[in-house]
C-alpha cells in the first residue's frame, strides 16, 4: 500500500532562488504530520506542490499514488486544503460558499446539502448558515474554511497555518476542530510555525529551514511521541538540590544529574533500565526530602531550537 503522501527530492525554484530543495518524507495513511519552520522556510510552497497547485522543479511527489505534477487535476480533486487565509466569498452566505465548493467537487445536490448540514452542526455554525461570510468573526471564518476543505471527504487534508492571525479563543476553537479531524483517521499535513500547535496535534514532525543558497531544506524529521518520552525525571526537593548531585550521579544508569535551585534533573543512559527507583532511594538515603518526581518531557520548542542551532552552527 503506497504512502498517503510521499515526497522524493522535491524542489521548487522561483527565479534564481530555491524556495524548497531536496525535500523527502513519507506520511502514512491516517497519520498527522507537522511541517515546521520559520517564515520563508518553504512550508506553503511545499504544500502547494503537494496539493497539485504548482509544479515542482525537481524531484517528485505523490498523493495516494497520484503524481502531483502529472495528475494535478486528480490530486486537487482528492485533497482538502485549508489555506492560510480563509478566502470566503463575503457576499455569499456560509451555505452558499460551501455549496459552491461542494458542486465544484461534483458532490450531488442532495448529498451536498446533507454534508453541509452535518459539517455546520459539527463546527457549531448551523444557526449561522444564512449569514453572509463578510459578517463572520475570524474564528467562524476559519471554521467555515475547514468545513469547505472537508466537503468532498478528501483522503488527505493540508492545513496551512490554521491558527495564524487568530485570537487565542478562536485559535483554540480551530485547534479543537483540527484535533477532531486528526482523530477521525484522515491523513493530515499541518504546516505551522506554532510549535505548541504542532506538539498538540502531530505525531511526527519535519523541520524546514531556510538556507543561504537553497531554502526549505529538511533538517530534521522525527517522532514526537519519542521526544515527549525523553528518558529522565525532574525531582523537586525541600531545599537546595546541589548537595545531592553526587549521590544521584553515583546511581547506575544515570547519565547526568544537574541541580538548579530545589530541582534535580536526572537523565537516564541510553539502553539502561530506568534508574529512577534507585536514584530516589539513594537520594532519600543521602538525606534528601523529596516533594515531587515529575517525568522529564523534552518540549518540542527545545528540540526545534536545538535542531535550528545545530544547523546554524554547521
Amino acid at each position: 500500500m503506497p504512502a498517503a503522501i510521499s515526497a522524493r527530492g522535491l524542489g521548487k525554484r522561483f527565479g534564481d532562488r530555491w524556495a524548497v530543495a531536496g525535500l523527502s518524507f513519507e506520511i502514512a495513511a491516517g497519520e498527522v504530520f507537522g511541517l515546521l519552520g520559520p517564515n520563508g522556510a518553504g512550508k506553503t510552497t511545499t504544500l502547494r506542490m503537494l496539493a497539485g497547485m504548482i509544479a515542482p522543479d525537481e524531484g517528485a511527489a505523490s498523493i495516494a499514488g497520484l503524481d502531483v505534477a502529472r495528475d494535478a487535476d486528480e490530486v486537487r480533486a482528492r485533497v482538502g486544503l485549508l489555506t492560510e487565509q480563509p478566502g470566503l466569498y463575503d457576499r455569499l452566505t456560509i451555505g452558499e460558499n460551501l455549496e459552491f465548493f461542494a458542486r465544484l467537487h461534483g458532490v450531488p445536490s442532495g448529498e451536498a446539502g446533507r454534508r453541509i448540514d452535518g459539517l455546520l452542526r459539527r463546527f457549531d455554525l448551523h444557526e449561522a448558515r444564512g449569514r453572509r461570510a463578510g459578517t463572520l468573526s475570524k474564528g467562524m471564518r476559519q471554521k467555515v474554511a475547514i468545513a469547505r476543505a472537508l466537503l468532498h471527504e478528501p483522503e488527505v487534508i493540508f492545513l496551512d497555518e490554521p491558527t495564524s492571525s487568530l485570537d487565542p479563543e478562536a485559535a483554540r476553537t480551530v485547534r479543537d476542530s483540527v484535533a477532531a479531524l486528526a482523530s477521525s483517521g484522515r491523513t493530515l499535513l499541518l504546516c505551522t510555525h506554532n510549535l505548541f500547535e504542532a506538539e498538540q496535534l502531530c505525531r511526527r514532525i519535519a523541520i524546514l529551514r531556510p538556507g543561504a543558497g537553497k531554502s526549505g531544506r529538511l533538517v530534521a524529521e522525527g517522532d514526537l511521541a519519542r521526544r515527549r518520552d525523553g528518558r529522565g525525571v525532574v525531582i523537586e526537593l525541600a531545599g537546595e538540590a546541589a548537595p545531592f548531585v553526587a549521590a544521584a550521579r553515583a546511581v547506575a544508569g544515570v547519565a547526568s544529574a544537574e541541580a538548579e535551585g530545589a530541582r534535580l534533573t536526572l537523565a537516564a543512559a541510553d539502553g539502561a533500565p530506568s534508574p529512577v527507583p534507585d536514584a530516589i532511594a539513594a537520594l532519600v538515603a543521602a538525606g534528601a526530602r523529596i516533594e515531587a518526581v515529575v517525568p522529564r518531557r523534552v518540549a518540542l520548542e527545545d528540540a526545534y531550537l536545538a535542531v535550528v542551532a545545530e544547523e546554524g552552527a554547521s
Binding site: 497547485m53 504548482i54 487535476d73 486537487r76 466569498y89 452558499e96 465548493f101 465544484l104 467537487h105
Partner: protein, 261 residues
C-alpha cells in the same frame, strides 16, 4: 451541473449582490443612450431647411430618403450604432476586472485554484460571468432605446424606425462578439496584474479606438457603413478566438499564487 456552470452561477450571484458594480453597470447605458435619444429628438424637431443643411454636411453618410427630416432621423440613428457598441465592450471590463485580480485581492483565489477546476474552465466560467450580465444589460438598453426612438420619431415616420437591419446586426452579432472581446482582454490582463483597478484601467483602453471612430464619424470626416461593421465583427470574432486561447494558455496558477502584482 458542469463546473463551468457552477462557477458562472457563483459569479452571477456575486454580481447581483454588488451594489457598486450594479450601479456602475446601470449608469453607463443611461449615459450612453441619453446622447442618441437627444440627437433623435433634435432631428425630429428640426426644420426641413436645417435638416437639409445638415445632410449636406454628412453627404456620404446621408440616407437616400426624400424627406429631409426623416433622413436626418435615420442619419442620427445610424450614427449611434458605434456609440451603442461601446456599451457591450465596456461593461464586461467593469465585471471581469474583479474576476481574477479581484479574487486575488480578497484572498479567495487560492481555494478556487485548489479546487478541481481546470484553467480553461476557470477562464470560461469567469468570462461567462462577465458576458452574460453585460449582454443582458445591452439587450435591455436596446429595447429601451428602440422604444424611445420609435416613440419620438413616430410623428415623422408613422411607423417604427427600430429595429432596422444595421441595429439588428449590431445587437445580435456585434454586441456578443465585442462583449466577449472586452471580457477576454480583461480576464487576460486581470490574471497578469495583481490589482483589479489596474486591470480595469488597462482594459478600459480597449474602448478608446471605438470612441475615436465614433467621434470622427460625428465630424462628418468618416462614414462607418455596413462594411465597417462587417469587418468589425470579423475582426472581433478572430480576436475573440485568439485571445481566449491565449488567456487559457497564460492562465498560470503558479504566477497567480506567487506574484501578487
Amino acid at each position: 451541473m458542469s463546473r463551468v456552470l457552477v462557477l458562472l452561477r457563483k459569479e452571477l450571484l456575486e454580481v447581483r449582490r454588488s451594489r457598486g458594480l450594479l450601479f456602475a453597470m446601470a449608469a453607463l447605458p443611461a449615459t450612453m443612450l441619453s446622447v442618441p435619444i437627444l440627437l433623435v429628438l433634435t432631428a425630429v424637431h428640426a426644420t426641413d431647411a436645417d435638416a437639409a443643411n445638415l445632410l449636406g454636411f454628412y453627404r456620404a453618410a446621408a440616407p437616400a430618403v426624400a424627406d429631409p427630416r426623416q433622413a436626418f432621423v435615420l442619419l442620427a440613428v445610424q450614427n449611434c450604432v458605434a456609440l451603442f457598441l461601446v456599451m457591450p465592450l465596456f461593461i464586461p471590463v467593469l465585471i471581469a476586472a474583479q474576476s481574477i485580480a479581484g479574487e486575488k485581492e480578497r484572498h479567495t483565489i487560492e481555494p478556487l485554484l485548489a479546487s478541481p477546476l481546470r484553467s480553461a474552465e476557470i477562464v470560461l466560467g469567469k468570462s461567462l460571468g462577465a458576458v452574460v450580465p453585460a449582454l443582458g444589460i445591452t439587450g435591455i438598453a436596446f429595447v429601451l432605446f428602440a422604444a424611445a426612438v420609435d416613440g419620438i420619431a413616430w410623428p415623422v415616420f408613422g411607423r417604427p424606425v427600430l429595429p432596422d437591419a444595421a441595429w439588428t446586426f449590431a445587437v445580435l452579432v456585434l454586441a456578443p462578439l465585442l462583449c466577449f472581446l472586452g471580457n477576454t482582454v480583461t480576464v487576460l490582463v486581470s490574471s497578469r496584474v495583481g490589482d483589479s483597478r489596474l486591470a480595469q484601467q488597462i482594459s478600459a483602453l480597449l474602448v478608446v479606438p471605438l470612441l475615436a471612430l465614433v467621434s470622427v464619424q460625428f465630424t462628418g470626416l468618416l462614414y462607418l457603413g455596413p462594411w465597417f461593421y462587417l469587418w468589425l465583427g470579423l475582426g472581433a470574432a478572430v480576436l475573440d478566438a485568439a485571445l481566449f486561447a491565449l488567456a487559457v494558455r497564460l492562465f498560470d496558477r503558479q504566477r497567480i499564487l506567487t506574484r501578487w502584482g
